[in-house]
Every structure is written in structure tokens, then in C-alpha cells.
Symmetry: D2
Subunit: 388 residues, 4 copies
Amino acid sequence: MSRKLRMGMVGGGEGAFIGGVHRMAAALDGQIELVCGAFSSDAERSRRSGEALFIDPKRVYPDFQTMIESEKALPSDQRMDFVSIVTPNHVHFAPAKMALENGFHVICDKPLSFNLEEALELEKVVEKTGMLFALTHNYTGYPMVKQARAMVKNGDIGKIRKVVVEYPQGWLATKREDEQSKQASWRTDPSKSGIAGALGDIGTHAENLAEYITGLKIKELLADMSIFVEGRQLDDDANVLLRFDNGAKGILHCSQISAGEENGLNIRIWGEKGGLEWHQENPNSLIIKWLDRPKEILRTGQSFLYPAMTPPEVANAHTRIPGGHPEGYLEAFANVYRNFAKHIQSLVAGQPHDPMYDYPSVSDGVRGMKFIYKVVESNQKGSWVEVN
Amino acid sequence: MSRKLRMGMVGGGEGAFIGGVHRMAAALDGQIELVCGAFSSDAERSRRSGEALFIDPKRVYPDFQTMIESEKALPSDQRMDFVSIVTPNHVHFAPAKMALENGFHVICDKPLSFNLEEALELEKVVEKTGMLFALTHNYTGYPMVKQARAMVKNGDIGKIRKVVVEYPQGWLATKREDEQSKQASWRTDPSKSGIAGALGDIGTHAENLAEYITGLKIKELLADMSIFVEGRQLDDDANVLLRFDNGAKGILHCSQISAGEENGLNIRIWGEKGGLEWHQENPNSLIIKWLDRPKEILRTGQSFLYPAMTPPEVANAHTRIPGGHPEGYLEAFANVYRNFAKHIQSLVAGQPHDPMYDYPSVSDGVRGMKFIYKVVESNQKGSWVEVN
Amino acid sequence: MSRKLRMGMVGGGEGAFIGGVHRMAAALDGQIELVCGAFSSDAERSRRSGEALFIDPKRVYPDFQTMIESEKALPSDQRMDFVSIVTPNHVHFAPAKMALENGFHVICDKPLSFNLEEALELEKVVEKTGMLFALTHNYTGYPMVKQARAMVKNGDIGKIRKVVVEYPQGWLATKREDEQSKQASWRTDPSKSGIAGALGDIGTHAENLAEYITGLKIKELLADMSIFVEGRQLDDDANVLLRFDNGAKGILHCSQISAGEENGLNIRIWGEKGGLEWHQENPNSLIIKWLDRPKEILRTGQSFLYPAMTPPEVANAHTRIPGGHPEGYLEAFANVYRNFAKHIQSLVAGQPHDPMYDYPSVSDGVRGMKFIYKVVESNQKGSWVEVN
Amino acid sequence: MSRKLRMGMVGGGEGAFIGGVHRMAAALDGQIELVCGAFSSDAERSRRSGEALFIDPKRVYPDFQTMIESEKALPSDQRMDFVSIVTPNHVHFAPAKMALENGFHVICDKPLSFNLEEALELEKVVEKTGMLFALTHNYTGYPMVKQARAMVKNGDIGKIRKVVVEYPQGWLATKREDEQSKQASWRTDPSKSGIAGALGDIGTHAENLAEYITGLKIKELLADMSIFVEGRQLDDDANVLLRFDNGAKGILHCSQISAGEENGLNIRIWGEKGGLEWHQENPNSLIIKWLDRPKEILRTGQSFLYPAMTPPEVANAHTRIPGGHPEGYLEAFANVYRNFAKHIQSLVAGQPHDPMYDYPSVSDGVRGMKFIYKVVESNQKGSWVEVN
């Protein structure tokens, strides 16, 4: 393809956090150009946002419906190629469905939707339309997460026995939603966030990370959800026991009231032959523990990362700069965009997409929504529930 | 007191691990002298062990009964002051009871006993005889654990909301009990270890640590115990959800199949105002996380550790050398011995014992046994159980 | 300004490393657009590179002279605004001089030039033309480096006594220049690199970082340079003692033969009241050590980073995402581009440039070249030399 | 030997720091018994100290001369076996010489003596008398230091190219010697400490560590010593460039004004094939860096530490408890005592001493004194000096 891909954006106007992240992630590799957007449900706000982003004013739209219709009417050499949806949870479904049904690929922030019904329907729409759909479970975009997955697949640590995945944050330890925090407000509001709070916001990242690296599926779970901050309506903490489909046991806990924590997603996995450990706040290191030899530290960008592995060098295929030059959150996020863009380019070129350049799919999103529902169910029952 | 305390030992002969630890811990501060022992149930082995320890052969006994009777018959200026019991779990009760009833103080390895009945009876014997009893939950002997407890008590981190205590080990990831490992053999044998494996061996340390630092009691729990190594009879892994008596939630997990882990006991506690984090393998640092200011690292031996606290300077009262000179497992273990010895000395001198110099008691041991029983019960039922 | 700035690039074609870094850094914030380039001294290679970058073929030039002349001839609403120079050291001077003299701002990779004479002349050209000039000493673009500088300036750690700055790398521990490594080849070739090897390549980063954070100037130095890999012509290791203009002492050492090291730039500074420590491979943490209170860990993106400081919140002004979402090398590099772009925009708008958004200047480049010359001189003499 | 060794002590009375360390180190393994002492130059103070240590009052002496004479007069089955000297530097020589000449082995705190002349004479006395002499350069007693030395000797990291050894402390950042600190007073007093301050107190530890691990000798050095705290007479900071006898280069720096540092001795060594890194404050880890494979972390107590090495398993021979049970400063110090005691026992038994159980000798002490003199000389001259 001799041109950049053209992106339209829904949401992400002034004051938003994740919209800017998506834009930086899309821009980083010089493969994607932001050409249009419906940046806010407030038309004037959308206009101002578009101006600040140097978007042609004619392509700054008052709402996503107008955007999709107008872009569809443009000549194919101008029309956007895909839509990026960066709105709160309750505004994922409608624009995603409409975009897909009008021939636009979609990349969407997580969780997939407001509720499970929407998720299941979206999965069908994706299947029916044949359009591409990416969900920004961005943490699986880190090179060392890819490395971990490849090592597990390769059998390096043997059959997995135990998984502990944690996601502590502390930013909602006080009632921030009463302090004009836009981020806190919608996340703690059941009408926007859905049936779960911390669990939906970050617990699903943890669930996705665990299943992605291990290749296992959670089969049963038992949950204890809490609301610690008085007056809050949704969980701000959840502890979950896990049982995986291969017999492995696990623990997942997430929290937004863990005072003093930043964004502490981390995972430890133990197999019959060794263990893996990865911390999102120190993302360029992957710790490997062995039964009979010293612990090793693998690092992003090293030249000797498992050259014999199949697929080869997956970590380096997701790294931009040499070892010791730290890559972070935005680079991992950009890997999701880069791989999604690669898939679109392959599609356009009529070539097969290399599965090494993977990204989270609508099915991962459905799985996340099911996870939320099962955790809530188990918490209500106080007993183990099956996850199908 | 113008003399060293005289110690007798039950167990700890050739090939034992924990006996040597107890002896080094007792010797470190020059306050205690090992004068006699029944080091093995094999009389010849006991004799050889006594010789290697430079013990007067007349005071190396073939069994604990003989030791207690013989020592009792000695003049008071020669007789041992207390007994140290370092045998496997199933040989704690009998020597402890006999020693107490014959006027000897007792310091005993954990867990307290083979089963709950013994534990409850031992508690009564201690009460009835008025003798002193210490249980070597040695991890609470670390200065930074004392510091953490003092800070919680002082309200520094506010009301506690969440506790995560972990104890991963990897040394039983393979079937070591089939490889002539004395340590592995009795720990995996229900006739010696009791109804639990990893949970009894190390899970009780985790439980004790959590309750010690927080001052809270576990009120309800839900457990998922596993046996991962084929042919093993007792749990080698356990995941437990906790609910504390103040409404806090928690997670405790312990494992001896976490490949590549050494002795990774650690605890994180989050309160309304901040969080605490401590790792046994890096014991001289205590991490304090705050809502509104930078994370701090407190270190063993620092001169400015909360001088205004009541009781004052508890951490420094349990530190032997200046900051930056690492103290470790043996020093923490020695703190239990040192504090127990101080209590004996106070008793002899007819003076009150300063509560700052605390050590785990028979009640802590009873609590540990109850914890084991409740975890096993919950695991069988698959539901929450109350801990009384 | 209602448009993106337009950038032309000299160098950075196929196989280059730093060119891609500059492009990602320029693209990240959506303020700069790459519109033209002379990507290689090989015209066909330049053409292919331009195509891969989606550049209009008419603006892919065979050499920098043609680029500067052709762009100058374009209407002002199409013409590039500034030139990015990413060639090896010996090709910095000519394009920079020509661009400046033809009315283009310049951002240039470090070190400034091939030799000191060029550096001094470039400084004069910048002054004479009044154009803006940025040198990509990118490590000073990290938020926590800005934070450290602000804290020193604020007197937080008192008068500085000692500075230790280190830059160990290991990638030239073997004779990589014989293995078709383009990066290794020119760096070890005196006809391209100049009079120094490791010292010029990375030692100048260390020197710049130390002077930037402390606000001090190196006044005297004593150096011991080494060539460890046989057959190499330029230093691959250098140890330097420093004396600063306020009486502080210091050590700077850099190495490219420190086997197993990645990109270990780090600095420790001790003042009368406390110390600072920063590691480039863990760039989001700044360690603060105090005389009378616990060590603190400041982190990128924290809301409470010295709000009372003047200028306020310099670290947060250089941070894109919340705490706990790691930012890395590219983000720091992008800060240099962003601040340079801000300055151009202020200039165009006729407004003053906020000095908080600083970037390394041509004078920093001259200082770096002087440093190189003085280290080489001291090494030859085996004695202390003054740095003026 | 069927008995404990009997130790007499010179110094280490009330208020002393290092005396208590020596006593705990001697006591830890149950092989050594403190039987007598001249604990202070103040006879009453000596008496009180002896009482607190439960020493037979008849064997608490008013001065070292009386002690040596009186003990010599005792029957051989009561007489002390060796003397431990724990006084300030200026009181090392006289008791050491007298003890050796009267048939007592000596273990002495470092540095060896007040000046070089004393050191050289002591070396002769040791040689002449044939008595054993140990110097407590305790840091070489750490298991991971032994491991590092064994790996270097084994050629694991290839020919050594660069050594960086650091010893930052901060406790003399203010004028503590004016605040009734006994420790600070004598160390900053030339009449007690000798010609150097920080350099003698801790710089010699760094020198000893570097030469011990590498097996190399410092051949040339260039030093820059400083006095930062006004009114102080001896150096409180020193930066030294090193050249080793194999062509390797190095840096040694030590400081007692590095605010906020505790006891930060650490060393990094890079050879042609890899690098080693060890930090005294985290002593149970040894980091190994390789050219072509991941970094490894070796840990005290691991079962797989280089079984094929000659001598085998040196680290484990200096470790008391299993991996993950942290050993610290006292255990390392106790290794010096344990190995010294082993040597005495071998001597008594007429058996050869296993060189694996090594300890610092009088020659190490002489070397340390020479190092001090050469650093001072280089600092005065401002140029390189040879170390013979």
C-alpha cells in the first residue's frame, strides 16, 4: 500500500484521557493518519477538538452517525479506512455496529460494550460483515508479554499449575467522582460503566492478560467483590479465585482503592519446569525462574531472544528500538494499532495476515464481558460458578 | 541476672535443618547457653550430635522424658531453664506438656501441634502451670515487621481495607520426598505433619504475619487447596480468600510448587490513608505508599524511625547493627529467643516484662491450628466458613 | 498556529537506527509532519526510503543541497519549516550551516559536529541567522530529569558536593565493526566519528546530563581512556575524574565494552541536605535520599510533584499519560521535538517562548565538543586539565 | 577437637560498635567461647563490660598487657586460644604484637594498623612466630563474594577489562564528631585513625574486595581526596582511578558524606565474556551478565551453584541456611571467624587447612596500608603513582 491508512475517531475530545492515547498510538509508526472525527457529543466541543488536532473542519462531525454517513459518501481515495472508538463503555456498541455495517473496520476501547447482550450481537455483526475488529486490550501489546506467551506455547516452563494476576490501582481510594474528575465519574456510574466498576475497567485487562499468555481458559471462578468508598455504587475492589481448563489454579485481584498504587498490573505463572513474572510498570523485563538453574532476566530488544522459537522473534517484531532504550505504554498500545493496520493492509493487498502480528479481537471482548457477568454472579451467590 | 540462661533441646540432631537455626538464634546474643539435649529419638545419634555440639556427655539424653526427669533432679544452679522443641509437628505436644508440667519454660517450633485437640490442651497447660511458652513464628521477629505493626497501630495508614499475604516456595515442585530428603519426607506425610501440608508448614506463617501486623482477626475464609505433584497426600498449594473482623478483605496464598521461588513470604496492606509492603527476602526495607506524597522506603537501623511512636522505636529495639548492614533470617529468629529470654529474666527478677519485647505465644499457636482446620473445612465444602 | 509544522530530514534512510527514532519522536504528538527528505547519499536509496515513508516523490531529494534549494523555492504554505539532521557526525555541519543560512530552523543529532572548529562556527551561524537550533541530547527530555533539575535549582538537596554519572554499554565488547554492523562501523571510524569513540558517542550524553541537572560546570578533569578491543582505533572506554565550578567533585565513566550492559546511563548526585539518583533504564522513578528521613521515590505522572516549585510542575509538563503507565525513550526524545516545535510556533506567533519547555542548544553542543577535546588532552598528558 | 575455642578480647567495651559485632560473629556457630577480655582502657569500664558479658570476673583485665600475661600463666586447658582486637586503629599494633609473641593467635579489626611501619613490622612478627593472624575484612566473607571470586578464577567472564568498586556512606555528611558520637570522633581524628579518614575506614574494604574477587593487583592509581565538612582534618571522600596488573582499568570511590546512603559497598566487574555485579546491601544476589544470553541472578543457598567448579561449592560452604532465608552482615563476619577457627583447629590437629575456608591475612592488611599511602601520595602530587 502506497499510502497511510485513514482513521476516523469517535470520542476523545477535550478533557478525555484515552482518546489522546489512541491518537499517539496511531501516529507513532507513521502508518496511520487521523482524517476525521466526532470527538464529542457536544458539537461545539467536537469542533474545537478537531481544530486543535488540525483536522479539516469539513470532516469534524457533530456525531458518529453523521460521520459514518458522510465518510461513506466520500470518494474511496479520501474516505476513512477505519473508525477508532474511544468513548465510555455505554457508547461503544452503537458506533461500532454502524461502522461495521457501513463497511468500516473498527478498533474499539475496552471493555467491548455496556452489557453482554451488546457484546454477543457485536460478535455476530463482525462475523456477518467480515470487517476487521480490534479491541485495545493494550497490555498484550508489550513485547515481553508476547515473549512470555511464546515461551509458554513452546513448553519452556512445562504444564502450567498456578497463575496469579494482579491489578492494583489507588486512584479511587477517595471519592474522586465527587471532585469533578471526568474519568472517575463515568467509571463509577452504572448507567455508563455497566454492572461492574473496577472489575470491568481493569479486571478484564487482568483476565485477558492471563488467558493470552497461558493459552488457557478460566473454567470456574469464585469472587468476593467490595465497595470500600462509601456512597459508591460499583465495586472498587475484587478478589477472585480461578480454576483453569487444564487443572491449573489461580488468583485474580483488582482494585482501585489500593492507596499509593499506580497501575500495578502484573502476572506470575508457575509451570512444572519453571516460572514467569512480568510487571507492567517495569515492562521491558521478563523474569524467568528455573527449577535447577539461576533465574534469568529477559529484556526487550535483546538480540538473542529465542531465535529458534516458532514463530520466531515475536518480541523483537514488536520492539522499535535497541535494548536498554525503554519502551512503554504508548509503544505497546501502538503495537495493537500497528498490527491492526497491518491486517487491513494485508486485506487490501489480498495477502494472508501473519498471525505473529496479532491483536485482541471481538471474541476476546465477548470473553471479557462473560467474565464480568460470572464474577458478579459468583459474588452474589458466594459460591463457585462455571465460565463457559 | 548474672548468668546466661541454660537451654535444653529436643530434636535437632544430625541432618536436621531447623535445629541448627534454633541453636544459632539462641547463641547470637550471648544470653543463652545450650547445656543439654535429647537430639534424636535414636540414642546413638543423639550422642554423636551432643558430642559435635561440645555438650557434656552426661547431659546428652536418649529421649526427652529422660532429659526432663534428669534435669529436674539437678541442682537449681545447673538445671536447664527452658526447653527448645525442634522436632516434626507430631512430636511437639508430648515434650512441651511434660516440660511445662515439670517447671520448665518452653520454646517450640511451629505449627504448635499435630492437631487442634493437642493445641487446645497445650494452651490449658500453659495457663495452668504459669510457665512461659514461645512459638517460633520467627518472621514476626524482623525489625521491619515490628515497624509495620507499630505504624498500623499508630493509625498511619488509616483503617485497613485490603491485605494480600503470599508465601510461594518451589522446593517441592518435584517429588523430593522420594529422593531421600528428610525435610520433604515428614512434611508430606500426614502421620507426621497433620491434616495439612504447605498450609500447615508455611500458610500458618502467612496467617500469623497478617494478623500480627494488622491487629485484625480473620473472620471468614474461602479456600481452594491443591495437590499438584502426583502421589502426594497433602496439599502443596492453597489459595484462600479472607474477610477480616473490621470489614477488610484479603487474600492468602501459599505454595511449595511455585517453581523457582525460594522463600517468598511477603505482605501488602492497604488502608484508607496509605499502604505498606514488606518482602521477607528483602527484609530490611519497608515500603510505605501514600495517597498524596511520594512512596517512602524505611530501612532497618535508621535513626529516625518514628521516635514519637508508642511504644517508641520498636524496630531499633530489634536491630543489632547500623543501617545498611543487612540483618537476616537468623537475626529475626534470634529476636524471638532474645525476647523470650528477656521475659524469663524479668520473671526471675520479679519485674514486669516490657511488652515491646513480644514473641508469639501459645494462643498464636492455637489460632494457627484453627486456621488450618477452617481452611481444610472450606476447601471440602467449597464455600465460606467462619473462623471463631 | 492552525497547522502542523513541516519537517524535512537529512539522513535516516534504510538501515539507519536514529532516523526512525527521530521520525517517531516527531510524529508522536501530532504537531509535526514529515514532508520531504534527503534520506541517503545514495539517490536511489533515498527514493526507496521516501516511498516507504509515504513522502511525495517530488520532495524526496538526492542530497541535502538540492533539498534545501528546492524547498526554499516552494511557496511558504508548502515549504518545510525545519530540517532534522540524523547523519553520522561528519555530516552534521554542512547541512546544518546551509539550512540555517537559507532560513530553515535545524534540529540535529549529537554530538554537534565532527570537530571543535565546526562546532564553534555553527554556534556563530546560529547567532548570526537568528534561526532556532536544537541538539537531540534526548536524555534531558525525560520528565524525571526535569524534576531532578528543578529540585536542585530549588535547593532541595543543598549545595552539591559529589556527582557520579555513568554510561556503560556492552554492544562493542567484541569487534562488531567487522560484522557488517553499520552502527558499529562509523562510530569506530575516526574519519566519521572524530577524535573520540565511546566518549563522543555516549560520554557527551553523560556530561550534558550532569551539567543539565546540577546547573554546574565542569572546571577541571583528569581522564584515562582505553581501547580494549584489539585493532580498534578509538576509545571504547573512558574513566574521568571531575571537579566542578562550585567545588563539587565527580566521576564520569562511559564504556561500550561493559559486557552485558544495555544502555545504562545513570546519575547520582549528593548535596549537603540529600541525594538524587536516576537510571535511564528505569526512567520513571527518581530516588530522593534525605539525611533525616526516609528515602522517597518520585514517579512520572504523579499529581503531587512539587506544586509549589517555580517553574511549576515541570515534570508533568513533559508527561503524556498518568502515573504507572510507563513512558520511555521515545517519549523523552519526543519532548525535545515538542519543545523545539513549541519554540518555532511561539516565534511564528510573535510570542515569548516559555523557558520551561527547554531543549539542548547549539551552546550545549559546543560544550560537548570542548569536553571531548579536554578529555583527550588530559588522557594524553596524564594530568589534570582545565575546561573553560 | 572436642571443645570450643577460647577467645580473649581487647576493646569492645560499653558504647563500642564493632566489639559487639565481633562477639556475635564469634558466637554464631557455637565453636568459640569468649572467656576473657580487656574491654576498655578504663579498668572500671572494662569490669562492667565483663560483667554484662557474663565473664568470670577474674578474667576481666584492666589492660591487654595484663590479659596476655595472666592468660599465658593459666594451664593450657583454660588459657585463651586467641585474641580478638577490636580497638581503634592506633591500638591495633601493640596488643597484636604482644599476643603473637606470647603464643596467641590474633584476629584483628581493619585497617591493620595506625601506619605502614607498624603494618610491615606486624607482618614480620606473624612470619617469625608462625602464629595465625586474621584481619576482619568481613565483606569477603559473604557467600556471593566467594562465588564471584570462584567464577572469575574459573574464567567464566573471561579476561577482566574494567572494575568499578564503590563505597558510599552518608553518616558523616554533617559534623557528627562534634555531637558526642564516639564512632565519628576517633575516625576523624588523625591521632587515632592515621593519615586517612574515609579512605582508611572504608576505602580499604573496597580495595580489598576488588583485589579479592578479581585476583588482580592494583598497579597504578590516581586519586582526588576531599574534605567537604568544614573543620574536618581527614578526607571524607575520595575518588580514585585504577590500573590493574593485567591491563584492566578501574574506579574506586568511597565517601562518608554521600547524604542518604547507608553502607553502599558494591562492585561491578566486566570481562571479555561477561560481567558480575554485587551489592553489599542486597548481599544474597550475584548478578551475572552475559554477552549472548540473558542476565542471571545467582542466590545464596542455591543447590546448583557451579558444582563443577574447583574448589567445589565454595558459596554453599559459607552459607548456613537454605536459599531465600536472607543471610547478612553478621553471617559474613562470622565466616571470617569460622574459617579462622577452622584453621586453628587444623593446626592443633596437625592437619592441613582447606584453602577454601580462607580469611584475610596480615598481607592483605599490609596491602591495605600501602594502598592508603599511595592514594594520599597521588592526591598530593596530582598525578599517577605506582603501587608496588
